[in-house]
Amino acid sequence: MSSHNTAKIEVDKSQFAERNVSHHFVDADQEFDSCKMGMWLFLLTEILLFGGLFVAYVVFRTWHPETWEAGAEHLDWKMGAVNTGILIASSVTMALAIRQAQLNDKKGTVMLLLATVLLASGFLVVKYFEYTHKFHLGIFPGGDNYMFPGKHLSNEFIYFSIYYMMTGLHVLHVLFGMAGIIWVTLRAAKGEFYSAYYTPVEMVGLYWHLVDLIWIFLFPLLYLTK
């Protein structure tokens, strides 16, 4: 996926903005490699951030399997599956956007990035319906707020504590990701990216794939526990 092995393509320079390598790098390769490594390290911290929640999940599920049974009943796996599909599709459009940037296709890059934002909003809409449905049932996060009339177990709410923490943190990441995508869309529209420089698109893309990947773990763990 790097520019260095892409075949040489004639670039119509008038379409794209001038750009110099930042002062402290020797050349563009060093800059690109550094950014990529930095991004991977950042993704590692994100995985560890969620890692704490996954540990909490495992601990409580091992201790209270019956709570998990009861809790998961209130989740609609169909909604979860739709969202999984949406996010996977958005990862595809994101990857294609990077490809188009490498190929100097400004319009294609912008359109694909917009499609990614659109899909991400779709995810949020589904999530919104899921949350409001639960609030409607009285399933609020937290022990004192849990007012579901048909509850069977005293600690049923812990399942939802973990559910809300995990999905809530994930939604926050979706929002950050969308902000990032919108930022690169604006820059792409100004013609800042072309075959020799598309680092920000690639970095935001990596981040977006991680957001997608985390959901791919959350979906079976939370929705498909039967």
């Binding site: 911290t45 707020n145 600690n155």
Partner: protein, 538 residues
């Protein structure tokens, strides 16, 4: 590129040129003075604790105030002073020059990390100060460890303080991430991994810990905040949660964190000892690799903080074993440093005095750690002053002493002036004496069973005398220590006005930062640096 006489300090003028700088050297200095301010604040609370404990039934400060004093002392010293002291202040200054680069890989992120540190510090200060101004708020008293469920029940502004630590964590992650990428990607041509100065190995290992461990404390503090806001029941036993899970999470970060604090100090000591012995460092590879070994093993020892918290005996045994394991790479370093001293031409300049102090104090700190890693003795010593003494021997006797040594070592490079050697050495001597009085006495207190964090103490008849005399000695030592530190800083500050101009390489050291002028020019090197000489080739 630059005319004669310009350097990174004077090439741009005005406060704004500092506040918006992306120059790693300037950011390093801003970190330095912020950390020193934190040291002063943390030291103030330390003295408050010591004066209260000077005599058994003292009522200098109330119990509530006392609890706040030790909480604030811990939080400020750990999060605002020690963690940024060597990596973010000294490391930021020297790392890019040592690798022969113009800056860190992500200069703007470096500046962001400083501002995040400032925001986190302001939040921490607000958590300290606001309770005195806002009715209904109680001061913070949950210790620097925020153990649940007390941290859920107490009326203090726990959320504000944990969010402050959360924010500070990001600053630490950014610094670590920047350092890792800089070391990987920006090394000057010819500098292979095993040709790097040992300071870089130490900072590299530290950065790995910062990047991998800090997110875990982040999520832990977030969960604790949610526990208070929403009552999510994960840590609260009354709701079916598990307070020990909090301890696991907390120490999974906080044990590596003590290595975030000590590893950079070890890097400084490697530089100092080789430079002031005029001798190639003994066992370069062993010292380099042991830094990485410490980083790796330190992730698997956290359970030694929980020998008495409902952990199974078997896991306690495993954690105890691994804890002994992490002592090995530390010991390897000590032996190599001592071997470097052997037949070296030792030059007792101020930084070297600190390096020798470090060897004594860190050895005591390290060995007493083994008492605490041993299950049977830990049961007796747990939560006594022995722990306090051990911790301070490692953190103060180790890291802070190394920080002072490194500060003197790089001072001529940072400001281009030489400090007064006589006063520098004298301050080091006073600090050494004051430190040992303050904390060696606490080993006696701890081994006779005096618990930590108590506001007043009487003690049984057979220990009452010891407790009284040793506490008094400790307080006296703390005052001497404070004076020593004050003399040290006054000496450094005076040198800014009256110090002799520093040459490029006042110590005859071999790493790249000594090849540039003092202070360095804006982008570090007047000409492209060349790696011609391995470090420590005397």
């Amino acid at each position: 590129m630059s005319e004669a006489g310009t350097n990174y300090i004077n090439h741009e003028k005005g406060i704004m040129s500092w506040l918006t700088t992306v120059d790693h050297k300037r950011i390093g200095l801003m970190y330095l003075w912020s950390a020193v301010a934190a040291l002063a604040a943390g030291g103030f609370f330390a003295l408050m604790i010591r004066f209260q404990l000077m005599s058994p039934e003292n009522d200098l400060i109330s119990k509530q105030t006392y609890n706040q004093a030790f909480t604030l002392h811990g939080v400020i010293m750990v999060f605002l002073f020690i963690i940024p002291s060597i990596p973010a202040a000294l490391g930021n200054f020297v790392l890019p020059i040592q690798v022969g680069a113009k800056d860190v890989a992500f200069p703007r992120m470096n500046l962001a990390s400083y501002y995040i540190y400032v925001v986190g510090s302001i939040m921490a200060l607000a958590a300290i100060a606001l309770p005195y101004f806002i009715e209904g708020w109680k001061p913070l008293d949950a210790g620097w460890t925020f153990y649940a469920p007390y941290s859920k029940q107490t009326a203090g502004p726990v959320i504000l303080m944990t969010m402050a630590a959360f924010v500070l964590g990001f600053s630490s992650i950014f610094t670590g991430l920047n350092f890792i990428v800089t070391i990987h990607k920006l090394r000057v041509k010819g500098m292979g991994w095993y040709k790097m100065p040992l300071m870089l190995w130490a900072l590299y290992a530290t950065s790995i810990l910062q990047v991998l461990a800090t997110p875990v404390i982040g999520i832990t503090l977030l969960l604790l905040a949610m526990e208070r806001v929403l009552d999510i029941g994960i840590f609260d036993p009354a709701k079916g949660g598990d307070p020990v899970l909090f301890q696991h999470f907390f120490w999974f970060y906080s044990h590596p964190a003590v290595y975030i604090m000590i590893l950079p100090g070890m890097g400084v000591i490697s530089e100092l000892i080789s430079t002031f012995c005029k001798k190639v460092i003994f066992g370069y590879n062993a010292i380099a690799n042991s830094s990485i070994a410490i980083a790796v093993i330190s992730f698997f020892v956290w359970g030694h903080h929980m020998f008495l918290s409902q952990q199974t005996t078997f896991s306690s045994m495993v954690f105890s074993f691994l804890t002994f394991g992490v002592a090995i790479p530390s010991a390897i370093k000590i032996f190599n440093w001592v071997a470097t001293l052997y037949r070296g031409s030792i030059d007792l300049k101020t930084p070297m005095c600190y390096a020798l102090s470090f060897l004594f104090l860190f050895t005591i700190g390290g060995l007493t750690g083994l008492y605490l890693g041993t299950l049977s003795t830990d049961i007796i010593l747990h939560d006594t002053y022995f722990v306090v003494a051990h911790f301070h021997y490692v953190m103060f006797g180790g890291t802070v002493i190394a920080f002072f040594g490194g500060l003197h070592f790089w001072w001529p490079k940072m400001y281009g002036v030489m400090y007064n050697e006589f006063w520098g050495r004298l301050a080091c001597g006073i600090i050494f004496i004051g430190f040992n009085m303050t904390f060696f006495s606490q080993f006696f207190l701890g081994s006779t069973g005096m618990p930590r964090r108590y506001h007043s103490y009487a003690g049984d008849a057979h220990v009452a005398e010891t407790w009284k005399s040793m506490s008094g000695l400790s307080t006296m030592g703390a005052v001497i220590l404070g004076c020593g530190i004050a003399i040290m800083f006054i000496n450094l500050l005076i040198s800014l006005k009256t110090g002799k101009k520093a040459p490029r390489n006042p110590w005859g050291a071999t790493t790249l930062e000594w090849e540039t002028q003092s202070p360095p020019v804006h982008e570090n090197f007047e000409e492209e640096p060349k790696f011609t000489r391995e470090p420590y080739s005397y």
